[in-house]
Amino acid sequence: MLRVWPIVCQFGVGAILCLIGIWGGLRGKYLNLKTREDRRLLVILIAGFLLMLAVACIFTFLAPNWANGESI
């Protein structure tokens, strides 16, 4: 669990920060999801979050077990 807590903490608090930012954009309609450009920005925000999460998971659960060249 010592290895899992960092992921839970970083991406949990990170998700809250992201939601605050998106809420701040949606409020007052500065982030207008009716426009294609703003929808694309939202997709990029979520994709970036998931990409970071994937990298963290790979280098926590998979990569440390790659013992040597043959297994990569």
Binding site: L2, R3, W5, P6, I7, C9, Q10, V13, G14, A15, L17, C18, L19, I20, G21, I22, W23, G24, G25, R27, G28, K29, Y30, L31, T35, E37, L41, I44, L45, G48, F49, L51, M52, V55, A56, I58, F59, T60, A63, P64, W66, A67, N68, G69, E70, S71, I72
Partner: protein, 611 residues
């Protein structure tokens, strides 16, 4: 720290050549600086990619290569975690903070705090932010001093002085434009050098698999253990770097604020942040840390013995041929200069905008303020140098972490709450900043009592990191508590300054209703028209207005057709009434705007609507 001088004459020649070239490059851009707007914000005309590279060059300080390679050697790839926790701030940055400061024409953080709260909050924040930035300059200078001591055998102070003089000189002459342009070059060079070193190591070991196999298994995790060791635990790094330091970089670091304000438009900030945080920052993480990983692999391969603190320099010296090693050393120098220049320019901006202009000599000419800004740049470098002996007592990582954890939380908390919470009051903001700073100061005296409960069982060695958590919670609690017992500001005063009112800020920026209809870019030819003198408008054909989906009165941006100028030759103008049909494909522009943009008669330009 190794005692002997390493590297050869060719290496030092390459390094010296680079040093002089960057200095000359920076000085050249002095010609683009004729006003305080140019000196602080580069004329607000640069493209997203230029600012992305300059941001990454600024983030990667001279301490980065040494600091992250040292922890990379000791703990492995988790040395990159500091670079991979920035994304979470991105929505707040691009959807709330940048629109507010850009559209409200905020020139400094203290100025925002006065607009959002009151004058006393501005004054309190000014002193804390100046302390933060000048301390940062000191940390950067000491790192380069130590590095030059290792490489050339110079005294630490001598190396710091030489570098400070060089950086202060080109900031003095070129201002923000010189900073951005030199940072572009330095950002590219430090990425090439760091990633090139990593590629050379992989080649040396016969492939990535062999390199990976040489690292101990506990060095292959993305994060360090949650609460161990005390001086490099995940939770310590996360609260100090991921929350306090990254939050401070994004929201209260004057250097970054000035960089964001140098963009040609707020929309460019979206691309800039994605490129910076999602692409360049991870590459920078590898570039700065890999020296430590490589050194560990070299040691485990039995090729030589290396100390953690020398891992970057020794690994680079081991792998690179003469001359190439000099290039890597140049990257190290680049990292220092590109951070120090930003900080020096930032101190100058705060001093002029928040102390000199409002209190000492209000109502003077822009030329006077430009002169003061330039002199302040020199003084800022001098103050940074004065702090070098203070930081010499600790390790670089320790000094940097302790400093940011102690100084940033109160102002960061006040900005954060002020930006997202309408109810947050001026009295609460003042108490957050002053009370938070006092509580953090007390935490140095009664550490066990105040920071101890937040140390996750790690003990006193973790306090310099965990103080950030204590600071954020203490300042936040004070702010929320006082808010609940004080009267909020009227809504009308908050327009454009808090989340949910960004459209009001846009309206204020333009001086009318923003035109958000999507349009295309058009290519036109300039014709300098004396009748437009001092009007800041351009006359373009109706067909061009239609293509841009623009109307008379809309804000336009005209730039040189060569994209790789990155906006260096460009200008913001307003669309005037459409031209007669015989002015087809021409853009009539005033002599002043043409001079600002460095356009000549008959110049091909690209014009786009901003709003």
């Amino acid at each position: 720290m190794i005692a002997q001088v390493i590297g050869g004459k060719l290496d030092y020649t390459v390094m010296l050549f680079y040093f002089v070239a960057v200095l000359g490059f920076g000085l050249y851009f002095g010609r683009y600086t004729t006003s305080t707007k140019d000196f602080f914000f580069g004329g607000q005309r640069f493209s997203w990619w230029l600012i992305s590279f300059s941001c990454v060059a600024t983030v990667v300080g001279s301490y980065s290569f040494i600091k992250y390679s040292t922890v990379g050697f000791k703990y492995g790839i988790c040395s990159t975690q500091s670079y991979l926790n920035d994304w979470f701030w991105m929505p707040i940055l691009v959807l709330v903070w940048i629109p507010i400061i850009y559209y409200m024409k905020i020139q400094s953080i203290p100025e925002y705090l006065e607009a959002r709260f009151d004058k006393k909050t501005r004054i309190a924040a000014t002193f804390i932010i100046l302390l933060y930035i000048i301390g940062y300059i000191g940390i950067n200078l000491i790192t380069l001093g130590r590095t030059l001591h290792t490489l050339l055998g110079w005294q630490v102070m001598t190396g710091a002085i030489v570098t400070a003089v060089a950086v202060a000189l080109y900031v003095y002459i070129g201002g923000q434009t010189a900073v951005i342009m030199t940072d572009l070059v330095q950002g590219i060079i430090l990425l090439i050098a760091g990633l090139g070193l990593f590629a050379a190591a992989v080649y040396h070991f016969g492939g990535f698999g062999n390199f990976w196999a040489l690292l101990p298994q506990e060095h292959k995790f993305a994060f360090s253990d949650f609460n161990a060791p005390p001086n490099f635990s995940f939770i310590g790094i996360y609260v100090q770097d991921g929350l306090a330091n990254t939050g401070a970089l994004m929201l209260m670091h004057q250097g970054f604020i000035m960089r964001f304000l140098s963009l040609k438009s707020v929309k460019d900030s979206r691309r800039m942040v994605v490129c910076w945080i999602l692409v360049l920052a991870p590459l920078a993480a590898i570039a700065t840390s890999c020296g430590g990983w490589i050194a560990r692999a070299i040691v485990n391969n039995g090729e030589m013995s290396i100390e953690a603190s020398d891992s970057f320099v020794k690994a680079a010296n081991f792998l690179c041929s003469p001359g190439v090693f000099g290039f890597v050393l140049a990257a190290l120098t680049a990292a220092l200069m590109s951070t120090a220049d930003t900080l020096i320019n930032a101190v100058s901006a705060i001093f002029v905008n928040d102390i000199w202009r409002p209190y000492i000599k209000p109502g003077s000419s822009d030329k006077h303020y430009l002169k003061v800004a330039r002199i302040t740049s020199l003084c800022a470098a001098g103050l940074g140098l004065a702090l070098v002996p203070v930081f010499m007592r600790d390790t670089i990582y320790g000094a940097h972490s302790m400093f940011t954890a102690a100084v940033t939380p109160p102002v960061l908390t006040a900005i954060f709450l002020g930006m997202i919470w309408k109810r947050y009051t001026p009295a609460a903001a003042f108490v957050t900043i002053v009370g938070g700073a006092v509580l953090i100061g007390m935490s140095f005296i009664w550490s066990d009592l105040l920071v101890g409960p937040f140390d996750f069982g790690m003990g006193p060695d973790s306090y310099k990191f965990m103080r950030a958590l204590f600071g954020l919670l203490a300042a936040g609690t004070l702010g929320v508590s006082v808010t609940l017992f004080t009267k909020p500001e009227p809504e009308a005063k908050l327009k454009g300054l808090v989340a949910g009112t960004q459209i009001d800020a846009m309206r204020k920026f333009k001086g009318g209703r923003p035109n958000l209809r999507p349009g295309a870019k058009v290519r036109l030819q300039t014709k300098i028209d004396q009748s437009l003198a001092d009007k800041n408008i351009v006359i373009v054909p109706q067909s061009a207005l239609d293509k841009m989906a623009a109307e008379p009165g809309d804000l336009l941006y005209a730039s040189h057709v060569r994209w790789w100028y990155g906006g260096l030759r460009s200008v913001h103008v307003k669309a005037g009434p459409p031209a007669d049909s015989d002015q087809h494909e021409l853009m009539l522009i005033s002599p002043q705007d043409a001079a600002t943009a460095h356009f000549t008669q008959g110049q091909q330009v690209v014009v786009e609507k901003i709003m």
